[in-house]
């Protein structure tokens, strides 16, 4: 009896979907749509609204529309933070590319039966918690850390190298953290590359270097662009890495936003800063796609 009604009900729904195919698609995307609206769109709107409000004397929100929070961004102090963040994210991206592309190339040109193993080996370290791995870098980079101890006991240096608590440490941490995000898209692009095109170039008198510059690199550029965006965006907004590895002077955008929300309790300014960061990322990404898209 109940079974029959359930089946009947099911049939009715199916019939309705057949009449209006749009309904079926809606039913399929509803879970993810619901998730995005509740946990992404609504918080985003809240932050957006906050960014135009005012902080009260005790950190509460005062409902008074103003653009003061955005104006504060032009304070040289914050502009410097932005500039440094862009610099660090940029260097991170370039280092990731310089290390990651050759590695992706090497992996993608191994016999097919080795490639999945190599991909797995690349991924395994990243199964460990990000925080734990970042702490590990402290043990490696600090003055009495692994690197400095080793170099000093070998007598190569008498003073510890300044590896920790500065921009260098942040770049090392970020490169390490986002390395697979560069390697994987590059790997995918290189693996897809039709190597008979490379042979054709060599047949047409291009040596290895020119075949790379004229054929391999331009054709795998979409992978490089994707990898760069995947590394650059999280690096620009990074907060844990600079917090743990950087010194007092190495503040990045993420740290400013964090302190506005958690220490200063200036939600409106933190919100405005978040939105400026998002706008910057959007502009950078669009520019990058345009440049990449032209040569692709």
């Amino acid at each position: 009896m109940t079974d029959a009604t359930t089946i009947q009900g099911g049939n009715r729904i199916l019939a309705a979907i057949r009449r209006r195919p749009g309904l079926g698609i809606l039913a399929l995307i509803f879970p993810s749509l619901f998730w995005l609206i509740v946990f992404f769109l609504i918080p985003l709107i809240i932050v957006f609204v906050y960014s135009f409000l005012k902080r009260g004397p005790y950190g509460q929100i005062e409902w008074e529309f103003n653009l003061q929070n955005y104006a504060r961004f032009f304070d040289p102090l914050y502009l410097r933070v932005f500039a440094r963040s862009f610099k660090i994210a940029g260097i991170t991206t370039i280092v990731c590319f310089l290390l990651g592309y050759p590695m992706a190339y090497w992996m993608a040109t191994r016999p097919a039966r080795w490639r999945n193993t190599l991909l797995l080996l690349l991924m395994i370290p990243f199964w460990t918690n990000f925080l734990v791995r970042t702490y590990a870098w402290i043990l490696i980079l600090r003055d009495s850390g692994l690197v400095n101890n080793a170099l000093m006991s070998l007598g190569l240096i008498s003073q510890p190298l300044p590896l920790f608590g500065n921009d260098l440490a942040i770049v090392i941490g970020l490169v390490y953290g986002w390395f697979p995000d560069m390697v994987l898209p590059c790997y995918a692009a290189i693996e897809r590359l039709d190597f008979s095109l490379v042979e054709a170039a060599q047949d047409l008198y291009a040596n290895e270097l020119r075949a790379f510059a004229r054929i391999i690199f331009p054709l795998t550029l979409p992978g490089v662009v994707a990898g760069s965006i995947l590394v650059f965006i999280p690096s620009l907004g990074a907060y844990v890495t600079p917090d743990l590895l950087g010194g007092a002077k190495s503040v990045m955008i993420g740290n400013v936003i964090q302190s506005q929300f958690l220490s200063v309790r200036d939600y409106p300014f933190g919100s405005a800063f978040s939105f400026v960061l998002m706008a910057m990322m959007l502009i950078a990404t669009l520019l990058y796609f345009r440049v990449g898209g032209r040569t692709m």
């Binding site: 054709a200 060599q202 047409l204």
Partner: protein, 374 residues
């Protein structure tokens, strides 16, 4: 060593590591191949897939290097010379046009790499595009071209460099039949026009027969026979060549007697078949008689003299437009395919051939067959 040889392949062996890596032993792709390709000829390497023809071509291009033996191009030993230092150009099976460049930049690529001046490059690119009859296609992208057009651009991209040798790796494989036939004729006349030695790899025997001056038939890494299309077709050296090129009927038997150049072979279930032979064969030698279906005739009565003539039963009739194929049985173990051209328009070819009653005779001349001793 003659002056007019474009390529000399001397006792070349190519071994590859096995599919399971170096520990998996080795695969012999090319097995002691020696060939001499004349300057200005259209030379085909013909064979089934895996016979070593593409590996041979890739060794001439420099993508692979011989494990043993050597390759000379116009008398110069190539050794380990990389492809970009060889004055050869290749047309790839999938054309390998650079997708991120226009047609004009594709064709100009080789000239740019050779640092030819811009004006000359432009002029020669235009000439090459005109030669393949696509003069206005310069600004297009390869993905905007049909298969046949891509094929021509690939040809232009190779020929624009005026190479000593043009190497073609099954370039027509991806085209449909009609276009392929057109391109065959076009390629052949293009080759005559530019006078460059073409080395053409194909598994399509008809293609090789249509275009080539000479053909090398390869099988399992070895060259079985080198010769003109007629030699290859009419006088195959061995069973594989006879079977691979065109259709052939085979009859196994032993030599019974020989009178001058006519050998009588007793086919395994008793039929005495006469075949012409170049040499002398001892009585009792096991041989195979190969005979092409179009060299057989179906007649209402037997013929004497140097004709083979056997009564037979028609088992199957297959009408294929230009001709009709008959499967006829001569004895319990001998069944032959006969190909009769449809000279007469008749709605029922079977009725035409069966007119003289049920009894028909399969007839062929003694020199129409070929004696194979392998």
């Amino acid at each position: 060593m003659s002056d007019n040889s474009a390529v000399q392949i001397r006792n070349v062996v190519k071994r590859f590591p096995g599919p399971g890596g170096a520990a998996d032993g080795e695969v012999v792709a090319v097995d002691h191949v020696s060939l001499s390709i004349r300057d200005g000829e259209f030379f085909s390497l013909l064979g089934p897939s895996g016979c070593g023809k593409t590996t041979t071509l890739r060794m001439i291009a420099g993508f692979e290097h011989p494990t043993e033996g050597e390759i000379l191009i116009h008398g110069r030993p190539m050794g380990l010379t990389p492809p970009y230092q060889r004055n050869t150009n290749m047309v790839f099976q999938n054309y390998a046009l650079f997708p991120h460049m226009t047609v004009a930049r594709n064709v100009a690529f080789g000239l740019q790499m050779k640092k030819v001046s811009d004006e000359e490059t432009q002029r020669r690119v235009q000439e090459a595009l005109a030669m393949v009859r696509l003069p206005d296609f310069g600004p297009r992208r390869p993905n905007q071209l049909s298969g046949g057009q891509q094929q021509r651009i690939a040809l232009a991209r190779a020929l624009v460099n005026r190479p000593e040798l043009l190497l073609l790796d099954e370039p027509l494989g991806a085209l449909d039949l009609k276009l392929r036939k057109e391109m065959q004729i076009e390629l052949k006349s293009l080759q005559k026009e530019v006078g460059i030695t073409f080395i053409y790899v194909t598994h399509d025997q008809e293609e090789a027969l249509t275009m080539s001056d000479r053909i090398a038939v390869m099988h399992q890494g070895k060259v079985l026979q080198v010769g003109s299309p007629t030699e290859i077709y009419e006088r195959p050296c061995c069973r594989f060549v006879a079977d691979f090129i065109g259709d052939t009927n085979f009859m196994d038997g032993v030599v019974e007697s020989q009178e001058d150049d006519i050998v009588t072979v007793r086919v395994d279930d008793g039929l005495p078949v006469m075949v012409q032979s170049g040499g002398t064969l001892a009585r009792g030698t096991r041989v195979t008689v190969a005979i092409r279906p179009e060299k057989l005739r179906l007649l209402p009565k037997p013929m004497g003299g140097s004709h083979n003539s056997f009564p037979c039963q028609v088992e199957q009739v297959i009408y294929v437009g230009t001709d009709t194929r008959f499967l006829v049985r001569l004895s319990d173990s001998v069944a032959l395919t006969v190909r009769e051209q449809n000279v007469i328009s008749t709605p029922d070819p079977m009725a035409y051939y069966a007119e003289g009653g049920d009894q028909v005779y399969a007839v062929w001349l003694s020199d129409a067959g070929q004696l194979l001793t392998d």
